[in-house]
Chain length 214, copies 2
């Protein structure tokens, strides 16, 4: 049975997964990039983005798990780009350049239809306008015997959590206070009994919580 997974979802100690005042210059909100310092430091992250170096550490081991056995991604439209409303044209092809780091089909949740977009390296973006369950059906078909990753952002993960569709989730809590911003949790009263946890894993830079659906 293939799974629906979330990995490397990072939250400040005060519960925010993006800072306040998100805009095109601050896609993670003010101070939001502080959330991801633990990941930026890992070899896995740096390899994915064709940078040199990076630490081989417990953080790296956990970051690397996100790459194993994933056959398709589902992401929200804001993860794909800053454009809101109708697509003015087809010039925007994502934040990642010609060869995005996915290398498999990526289903983008949107209210605005657009033809699929084939990139280099095996990434193809499909734009899904009929909701999360349809996106999941299509992603499962595309992934075959591999798993489906819910890539974010927060509102996409929240929709899948609220629908009881996430099998495994990794949340990293980091020693950062953002004061305000976008929350992952809250308004999800039914999740209390749905998951069991692996033992907590802590590095200097993050505490890793791994949840599995009961």
């Amino acid at each position: 049975m293939t799974k629906v997974r979330v990995h490397n979802f990072t939250m400040s100690l005060d519960g925010f997964v993006a800072g306040p005042l998100q805009d095109i210059d601050h896609p993670l909100g003010v101070r939001g990039e502080q959330l991801h310092e633990w990941a930026f430091a890992t070899r896995t992250f740096r390899d994915m983005h064709e940078m040199h170096g990076g630490e081989v550490s417990i953080d790296d081991e956990i970051a690397a798990a996100a790459r194993q056995n994933v056959g398709a991604h589902i992401i929200g439209r804001n993860m794909f780009g800053p454009i809101r409303g109708d697509w003015p044209d087809e010039a925007w092809t994502g934040w990642w350049g010609e060869d995005p780091p996915y290398h498999h089909p990526v289903f983008v949740l949107t209210h605005h239809a657009r033809p699929s977009l084939e990139m280099q390296g095996g990434t193809i973006f499909h734009f899904v306008t009929d909701g999360i369950e349809s996106a999941l059906d299509r992603a499962r078909d595309a992934a075959g015997s591999s798993d489906v990753m819910i890539g974010g952002g927060a509102s996409t993960v929240r929709q899948f959590l609220a629908a009881g569709l996430i099998d495994e989730m990794h949340v990293a809590v980091v020693p950062v206070l953002l004061g305000d911003g976008e929350r992952l949790f809250g308004g999800l009263p039914d999740i209390a009994e749905q998951y069991r946890f692996e033992p907590v894993i802590g590095s200097d830079a993050a505490a890793h919580f791994q949840l599995r659906r009961n």
Copy 2:
């Protein structure tokens, strides 16, 4: 310079420091006792409450830090007892029996005056009706060269955080989802730049975050 400290303040992964539906039978809210399993397992906690056994672990070491160099506590009224409004009489003397585990002056924030209450073992409860800064002045005087501990609950800690009065804080995040309840953080936009963190310490049962005011 003496400090104002918070220790062993425990939060679920989804950000709640007490479960929903707090009442006299569930002073920590529904499922709220799950938050404190890491602390209940420590020798320090069990010694404080005159129980045998308990683990000597990194959790225990961190729990024990809360007992060092504390000369006075400040707590909210709900930490002292379940009575709301005027005191009907002086029969209620706290949740802890004749010999509470404080052994020094404890200042209880309330809107309802009441004479001080001297218990066995050095604990004396003073009831403060003129606000947190007055309580802090009195607690500092009582503590002398020792520190003042803000004992909780959440709304008391929030008031001191909002006023910029907490010097050191230890928050334990635990592998529990409560789904709903009372938050510690949120609505405190100014705290983002106020604290620096020690490296995260993780055990199987909790992730410990230690903050110091800049």
